[in-house]
Symmetry: C2
Subunit: 150 residues, 2 copies
């Protein structure tokens, strides 16, 4: 597989997490962490609704689920949506060098912070990620605003 095909495959795994959260009534944002060997080491989705936890964005949950480790600089973080400033900061703290996002049409996160720190940021403009997020924002705008601090 080319790198792009691999990225597409892992984004599908992140999107499956997003769909799972949507089906639970939560925010449809998913994330996976992948090792240099191409193995998913952790996954997660937004859990604000499910757990009542405002910090439970998909990327934070995924990194939380990865547990205590020292191989962060070898991992790639996938997220269905451009990461907000909290999730960007979390990824930067652990020096994750590569971040692949599904889209930034529905929300533009703190992408400049990534590029300022030399993180490789790839936007797949994934139609499935865009459609699911757009549907949710139209259906539950107040919940969406709550999740981005508005």
């Amino acid at each position: 597989m080319t790198t792009t095909q691999t990225d597409q495959t892992f984004m599908e795994a992140a999107l499956a997490q997003a769909q799972k959260s949507y089906d639970e009534g939560g925010l449809p944002i998913g994330s996976v962490l992948v090792s240099a060997a191409g193995e998913i080491v952790a996954q997660g989705h937004n859990r604000r609704v499910q757990d009542g936890d405002p910090t439970a964005h998909a990327e934070v949950v995924c990194i939380r689920n990865a547990g205590r480790r020292r191989d962060w600089p070898e991992l790639t973080l996938y997220s269905t949506l451009s990461p907000c400033v909290m999730c960007t900061g979390t990824s930067l703290l652990f020096r994750i060098p590569r971040v692949v996002i599904g889209e930034n049409e529905n929300f533009m996160g703190a992408e400049k912070l990534f590029t300022n720190e030399g993180v490789e940021l790839v936007n797949l403009q994934h139609a499935g990620c865009i459609a699911l997020m757009k549907k949710f924002i139209e259906q539950k705008p107040d919940l969406w605003n709550e999740d981005i601090g508005l």
Copy 2:
């Protein structure tokens, strides 16, 4: 009380959280969130060791404990230590307008991100915060490095 005396009082509460974590074998960093009315609405301390959660920095735990709410722009965040980029991003996401820190001698966080966004950042240079953190870093340097992504 003057503002400074109030800040000192709430920093003592954050330091009590830090001491609690130290006594449990964890990282001695504590945080409290205070309302405009001067009430502590949430508190927390680092829980990396206690929960095996790499995202469980004091400020994130405190904000997590505050739960789902919309009054973030009226709160003040207290932390015994200058917040790292994850905790800074978390505070910025929720538009917390004022952050009071115990010190930045043992660790300089992402303070520029706060000031870039117009957040009021106050450093108390609190002797108790400095001493407890310094003691821990000397005693457990590897655990400290793990917590800051090294």
